[in-house]
């Protein structure tokens, strides 16, 4: 499955991570610099639950690459849950990726990738 999705250009966006399974979790979002190098933590890009991170609109055809570091608490048996990352423009989902995550007992972690590419027009 591709980790890339298209979004409208020049529109301010909010990014959101959703983890299912009724599980509490926390996260930190990073961005891979366009020039290469290790990912950089976004200011204000950490939280618990389905909080959102604001990012500025992208010029046409520009791509930005994000990754969430996620850790969840699960005091029940191992379970498979749905994970989604969304880009929202004024609360409307304009881009979304989904995946499944097997969450072990006590605690588990994962990385969720999202590449946003702004449409040409």
């Amino acid at each position: 499955m591709s980790r890339s999705t298209e979004v409208p250009n020049s529109v301010d966006l909010k990014l959101r991570l959703l983890v299912g399974g009724d599980l509490p979790y926390k996260w930190q979002v990073y961005e891979y610099p366009a020039t290469g190098g290790p990912p950089i933590a976004l200011p204000g890009g950490a939280g618990r639950g389905d909080e959102r991170v604001a990012i500025a609109g992208l010029p046409p055809q520009q791509t930005r690459r994000f990754v969430w570091s996620v850790a969840a608490v699960n005091l029940n048996d191992e379970q498979e849950v749905d994970v989604r990352v969304q880009a929202l423009a004024t609360d409307i989902v304009v881009g979304e990726l989904a995946a499944t995550w097997k969450v072990g007992r006590t605690t588990s972690s994962c990385f969720v990738h999202l590449d946003l590419t702004a449409r040409a027009s």
């Binding site: 499955m1 989604r84 990738h113």
Partner: protein
């Protein structure tokens, strides 16, 4: 456990194993989820139907199907995905026969809609909480050999209506655990095409920190809980699928805290049992109903359990003949720690049936090693 300690315990057990007094080396009081102990009037007698056999532990069982079959030794499979469930169900039915010695427990919610339900949904919606606490259990076992072989299959359901021990609703525990988690550093490069990649295994320190949160903040064993459950079983000669009603049971129990280290439990159980589905020459079908009240206290060095119960049994031999028996009973158990990893329990029970008075004793001997210490209260 050294040999000398074992020998001492055997001697102690022998000294107490007098008529009317049972001796059990048992688990220490623990934190089950949920424990709703009660004397069980409806449990089958060891030799058929002659009397009332009393078990001092019963509640709405975690796996009603296993409980109905009396197959507590079965290893329970708990599929975490629909794919896992598919594998388990395929193992349950092979070559046109139901396979014995299999137990499955599943949460329909967790396997379907609950996969994408958020923690926020769980906190906000009572319906979500109830759906997650609803489980279905399946179990099979075998009885007899050769031509007389019969597979017994059971299906059960269980619902916790109230659960004050629910960890998801324990804000202090969840906050503590989230604070204890360390988020792993993301991959240095952006290779690959998968949306989700697994993180590193949690390090030992983080796991210990979360476990400390559980120890510190988990609700005690005597938290308030209300649960209901039901199960039915069918006899399947040679594993061939067919429908009949071998046993049917229904449970309801309410447990409530009674001080820091004690709890009170009220429970009811109904059991319909018809052994004629296996052996047509056996006794008639039987209905039993019991209601019990228990008080239990658990201390660091000892535990006490007292139970009173009333119930009745109704047996119908044919369309014209039936018998009814009323039963009252009282039971008690004392548990105390003799070594750090070994507990001794002395149990007694007495029964009054149909206005007569019969003193029935339950004596058994059970050893447990490597016992998990009692959790903090």
């Amino acid at each position: 456990m050294t040999a000398s300690r074992l020998a001492l315990l055997v001697a102690l057990a022998g000294a107490f194993a007098a008529p009317g007094l049972g001796v059990v080396v048992a688990d220490p009081p623990r934190v089950p989820a949920p424990t709703v102990p009660a004397v069980d009037i409806t449990a089958p007698t060891p030799a058929g139907d002659a009397g009332i056999w009393i078990r001092a532990i019963d509640h709405v069982p975690d796996n009603p199907a296993i409980d109905l079959l009396g197959a507590e030794d079965l290893k329970v499979s708990k599929p975490g995905s629909v794919k896992d469930l598919d594998v388990e169900l395929r193992s349950l039915y092979k070559d046109g026969k139901v396979v014995p010695e299999i137990a499955i427990e599943l949460s329909p919610w967790a396997l379907t809609v609950g996969r994408s339900s958020s923690y926020r949904d769980y906190l906000a919606s009572r319906a979500t909480r109830l759906l997650r606490r609803f489980t279905i259990s399946l179990a099979t076992t075998s009885q007899g050999d050769g031509d007389a072989q019969t597979t017994l299959g059971a299906v059960g359901v269980r619902l916790r209506l109230i659960d004050d021990a629910d960890w998801r609703l324990n804000g202090k525990l969840v906050d503590c655990a989230l604070d204890a988690l360390t988020l792993p550093a993301p991959p240095a490069n952006h290779d690959g095409d998968d949306v989700l990649t697994a993180g590193p295994a949690p390090d030992a320190d983080a796991t210990k920190a979360v476990e400390r949160c559980i120890t510190t903040h988990a609700k005690p064993w005597n938290s308030t809980q209300l649960a209901v459950g039901a199960a039915l079983s069918s006899a399947l000669p040679h594993g061939k699928l067919r429908w009949d009603l071998h046993d049917l049971a229904a449970w309801a129990a309410f447990a409530h805290t009674a001080g820091k280290a004690s709890g009170v439990t009220v429970g009811v159980k109904y059991l319909y049992s018809d052994a004629r589905t296996i052996d047509t020459t056996t006794q008639s079908a039987r209905h039993t109903f019991a209601t019990t009240a228990s008080f239990e206290t658990r201390r660091d060095k000892f535990g006490l359990l007292g139970t009173i119960g009333v119930g009745g049994r109704w047996t119908r031999a044919d369309m014209a003949t039936s018998t009814t028996q009323a039963v009252g009973l009282v039971g008690g158990e004392v548990q105390f720690q003799v070594f750090p990893d070994t507990w001794l329990a002395v149990r007694f029970s007495a029964e009054l049936a149909n206005g007569g008075s019969d003193l029935i004793s339950l004596a058994n001997l059970k050893w447990n090693y490597d016992i998990t210490p009692t959790r903090s209260r």
